[in-house]
Amino acid sequence: MKTTVPASPTDQQEVDQDIISRVLAGNRDAFSVLINRYSDPLYRHALGMTGSPDVAEDILQMSFIKAYQHLAEVRGRFDAWVFRIVANGCKDWLKNIRRTHLSYDEDDQPSGYSTPDEELDRTELRSDLDRALMTLAPSLREAFVMKHVEGRSYEEMADLLGTTVGALKMRVHRAREALQALLEEKYA
């Protein structure tokens, strides 16, 4: 998982363990270090999986509260552990909801580098991509989001999801196939 503090995975794990010990000893504020370090990639994951900023925020909040309550149970890497909580939160939400369309409204402001036509085109692609992503099976969407949106390597994904690189490549390729089939009529 990408962090704001560049460190080797072992160093990072030691630092996390130190923070966890402080929180367990009663230093509640120390937990904010873990939130600051890991919330961005987790938020992007939740946003990519749900397509809704509001839902992503809720899942992130519930996941960190759950992580805090069960902090004494962390064995191994905190980032991988909290990622699983968020990923399961997203999957639970997807099981319980049937949605039609949600877009990244607050990010739809035009940038200063494109013409209005280009911006309109881009906004349309965003919405269409979101809609197309929502039609994918959760496992395919998860793999696509982790690879493309979060920019993770297959090895990192395999480590976090507890599966093989080959299986994940297959999922990502199937997701691309499905997305292309959905979008090529309009865009290709």
Binding site: D40, R44, E57, L60, R176
Partner: protein
């Protein structure tokens, strides 16, 4: 060039590989152009998107549109990769945390047991009844 789709796993099909021009052999891999056909999400596009091969050069209009589509999707993915957690969310999480420190995970034999008077009486009555039953059965024998 570089049409051998299976070259990476060693199961390349020699019949699929088209003859290479002499000039192609002299180029480093990164400078070579990779033409693709009109298939849906071709192996070449997957290799490119996986970072294993350079961007394919389309050989026809259809494949050019596919490459363009994926270039745009990648552009959008890159933009999303830079999204950060809204500042208010972090504050909300901290505010919503329970006031008590998380409980240390103790093995069951170290956990304290709370017994109410009613439960203690019920347990005592149960033990007396069990003792009486055992006593009766021994007397019968």
């Amino acid at each position: 060039m570089l049409d051998n789709l299976n070259a990476r796993d060693g199961s390349g099909d020699a019949h699929r590989e088209r003859p290479r021009r002499a000039s192609e052999h002299a180029q480093p891999l990164s400078d070579k152009e990779v033409p693709i056909g009109g298939t849906a999400t071709s192996e070449m596009i997957n290799s490119w998107l996986d970072g294993d091969a350079p961007e394919p050069v389309a050989v026809n209009a259809e494949s050019a549109r596919q490459v363009d589509l994926w270039r745009r999707i990648e552009e959008e993915s890159q933009r999303r990769r830079h999204l950060v957690t809204p500042a208010h969310v972090k504050a909300q999480i901290m505010a919503a945390l329970p006031a008590d420190a998380p409980q240390m995970a103790l093995p069951w034999w170290k956990k304290s047991i709370h017994v109410s008077p009613v439960m203690a009486l019920a347990a005592a009555a149960g033990l007396i009844a069990l003792g009486a039953a055992i006593g009766n059965s021994m007397r019968i024998r």
